[in-house]
């Protein structure tokens, strides 16, 4: 059955998780992982647009070298707001809490996660954390940058730092609960026959992500707790004037925040594996290497945080170690890119919108990853640190990578989650706009960063203006690309054709249940007898 035709009637299956109950209470007190995924979807979408608006405003300000739209103070608050919201309220939860929550139990043949009430608690923690952060923003914002470096954040800033720290602290529990839930679920609740090496790579990616969530987030929690205490109670542990070491704060902060970027990218890599195999009609090349590389990235990712601190008083010897391991962590990342590419080779490729996102992901993640190597190099980092080069690097990974994966996955599983088909024409337009807009926004930033434009300044030398104008123009296109799905996806909820169980002809347990699924997911017990991605094309050249 092809995507466009849908089912013969416009109605979804009679009894599914969406129409099981209609009250607000049934949603707010749900323990169904699929409903919790929807709750998260709404929350992270709101967060994304808030963070995006902040970015758009300061990109407007950056059209001119004098920064005449905003005061410096306001500019600082806007980029901080953008960073805090995008990192903690969007990127970290985005795929795991929406697609992960929905799909992890289904992909392994389970009725729900191991701890459904903990799952609901994690959403409430997210909302509570978000409430604190939003309150701080509305009350005037924070101007420290999302990294809250001391002693500025603890001793000098006149903004609502403590409130924001509390909000991020609480939101961190959301992460920990989700990760804990996934680890137990994947270990204990796989269907009969579903051995580890038959798991979809989406599951491997979420497993590795969960390991990081559980091990790293508590360190952020205690760090922010100490920083908040310093601010509120007047401690001096990170204040050099009182014997403290601000670099210790950075060590503790980045001990979480570097692994956090792998929390943000690993799920997207998992999504891409699912998309590539489906739209090339081909088994993944080197399954075990791709699975293992997720774990390798998680492990190695814990040992590189000092590369954020090369230009501090951190010892250069420690810097050498961090630099070498930063190069090493590029290896499993590269393995994934090679294997995705090898999967596409001699595959039967089609260009549905999720595939456009997946292909965009591969190219943009590649650029982002390679530019990370320039930053991992101690010598070049001295020049590039705190310039727009860094900004471009991480946006290539986070937006060109993680966000494209999120959007690709959202489109791919939208029929399954909602039971509706979206308009494929507009989806392809949006994907193209996102790809073009993204590159126009961020590629100039590599150049202007290399030329010396520092980050977090809204004044810049006039000779750099052309790059900023290109970047702002790109951000307009990008914003349009993001707005379009908001419209056509919402439209599909009301007017979209009913989706069949498997509109893409994909392999995986989630495609064997109705769209949308019943509350208990599976009406009959599941036994798995074949490998993942058992598409017709398994060997290169096979017809």
């Amino acid at each position: 059955m092809s995507y466009a035709t849908g089912t013969s009637t416009n109605q979804s299956p009679a009894r599914n998780y969406l129409n099981a109950a209609h009250t607000v209470k049934s949603w707010l007190l749900t323990v169904d992982h699929k409903r919790i995924a929807i709750l998260y979807l709404i929350s992270v979408t709101v967060a994304f647009f808030l963070g995006g608006v902040a970015a758009f405003i300061f990109r407007l300000d950056l059209l001119t070298p004098e920064g005449d739209l905003l005061r410096s103070d306001t500019y600082n608050r806007l980029f901080t707001m953008h960073g805090v919201i995008m990192v903690f309220l969007f990127l970290v939860p985005s795929i795991p809490a929406t697609l992960g929550n929905f799909l992890v139990p289904v992909m392994i043949g389970a009725r729900d996660l191991a701890f459904p009430r903990l799952n609901l608690a994690s959403w409430y923690m997210y909302m509570a954390g978000a409430a604190f952060i939003l309150y701080a923003i509305i009350a005037g914002g924070v101007d420290t940058g999302w990294t809250f470096y001391t002693p500025y954040s603890t001793a000098f800033s006149n903004t609502h730092v403590a409130m924001t720290l509390v909000g991020v602290f609480i939101a961190g529990f959301s992460s920990i609960f989700t990760g804990l839930n996934f680890i137990v679920t994947i270990h204990k609740m796989r269907a009969p026959g579903l051995t580890w090496f038959r798991l979809p790579l989406f599951i491997w990616a979420h497993y590795a992500t969960s390991l990081i969530m559980v091990l790293a987030t508590p360190v952020l929690a205690v760090t922010l707790f100490l920083a908040a205490l310093e601010r509120l109670a007047g401690l001096g542990i990170f204040d050099p004037a009182r014997g403290g070491d601000p670099v210790l704060y950075q060590h503790l902060f980045w001990f979480y925040s570097h692994p956090a970027v792998y929390i943000m990218i690993l799920p997207s890599l998992g999504v891409t594996a699912e998309l590539i195999t489906c739209f090339c009609r081909k088994n993944i090349f080197g399954y075990k290497f791709v699975a293992g590389s997720s774990i390798a990235i998680a492990v190695l990712g814990f040992l590189v945080w000092g590369h954020h601190m090369f230009v501090t008083s951190q010892s250069p010897y420690a810097g050498i170690v961090f630099s070498v391991i930063s190069y090493l962590v590029a290896v499993p990342s590269a393995i994934k890119v090679f294997n995705f590419t090898a999967t596409i080779y001699r595959g039967s490729v089609s260009w549905e919108s999720p595939m456009i996102y997946a292909l965009g992901f591969i190219g943009l993640f590649l650029i982002g990853g390679l530019t990370g190597l320039f930053l991992a190099n101690l010598g070049t980092d001295v020049h590039l640190h705190d310039t727009y080069f860094v900004v471009a690097h991480f946006h290539y990974i986070m937006v060109g990578g993680a966000l494209m994966g999120y959007l690709g996955g959202l489109h791919f599983w939208w029929p399954k989650i909602t039971g509706k088909l979206y308009n494929e024409f507009w989806a392809r337009i949006a994907a193209a706009l996102v790809f073009v807009g993204f590159n126009l926004t961020f590629f100039p930033q590599f150049i202007v960063g290399y030329l010396g434009n520092p980050r977090r300044y809204h004044f810049y030398p006039p000779e750099f203006q052309v790059y900023h104008v290109l970047s702002t123009a790109g951000s307009t296109v990008l914003g349009l690309g993001y707005l379009l799905p908001l419209f056509y996806l919402t439209y599909s909820l009301f007017k979209g054709k009913a989706a069949p169980a498997n509109p893409w002809g994909a392999k995986g347990l989630e495609w064997e249940i109705p769209s949308p699924p019943p509350t208990e997911n599976f009406l009959k017990p599941v036994t798995v007898t074949e490998e993942a991605y058992a598409y017709p094309l398994r060997k290169p050249g096979a017809k």
Binding site: P116, V184, P218, V222, E230, G234, L235, G236
Partner: protein, 216 residues
């Protein structure tokens, strides 16, 4: 439905009582892993500053009362023993012993908190709480607040965990008395025991690191 009702009817997401028990156990241990990393962050910070200011740490430790700290260590170790007894009793279906051992554990933890209260009160009195009223040390100046910052952060967070555990012990003693943890459904008591032993573990390190450096 809680794990306590998991005899023949596991929660809907589980296929068997065994799967539920194993999942709960793994979940609890993973939670303890997060707690290790949480307290670990404080210990790392402590280690860095002790490395930087060894004499200051040695000197400031004099202000801590070894006897109160020692008593608290003994009390917590004893409470671990009585908790182990309680879990064992639950495992064997001995309701009376389980409840009484939980109550003894509860009393031990209250003693710990009371001693802690007196310790803290003494610190406040002597202006050793970092912040606006901190009495600057004649020899080490304002840097001395680093030792006390870590002292209060570590013992404060630990004490908070003790408090939460104490409340849970009381609740479990009540539920146990009401018959919620028969032999077939003893696992929640064991999970509480794991948490309580962890709290003891943290103190086993806090005590020598803060109280025992200044004795020579």
């Amino acid at each position: 439905m809680s794990a306590a009702d998991a005899v023949h009817h596991p929660d809907h997401q589980f296929d068997s009582p065994l799967q539920q028990r194993e999942s709960l156990s793994l979940g609890m241990w993973l939670f303890l892993v997060t707690e290790v990393m949480f307290f670990g962050g404080i210990f790392v910070g402590y280690a860095v500053y002790r490395h930087m200011y060894p004499e200051m740490f040695h000197h400031m430790s004099h202000h801590l009362n070894v006897y109160m700290g020692g008593i608290n260590t003994a009390v917590l170790l004893t409470s671990s023993l009585t908790m182990a007894f309680a879990v064992n009793a639950a495992q064997n279906g001995n309701k009376k012993r389980m409840v009484s051992m939980l109550l003894v554990t509860f009393v031990c933890s209250i003693v710990f908190l009371i001693v802690k209260y007196f310790e803290y009160a003494e610190k406040f009195h002597h202006h050793l709480v970092p912040g606006a009223h901190f009495a600057t040390d004649p020899e080490y100046g304002d840097t001395a607040q680093i030792f006390f910052s870590f002292y209060f952060a570590a013992t404060g967070l630990h004490g908070f965990h003790v408090l939460l555990g104490t409340i849970c012990i009381a609740i479990f003693a009540w539920l146990g008395h009401k018959g919620h943890f028969p032999k077939e459904k003893y696992q929640p008591v064991e999970m509480l025991g794991l948490y309580w032993h962890f709290v003891d573990l943290v103190w086993i390190y806090v005590f020598p690191l803060f109280y025992l450096i200044g004795l020579t």
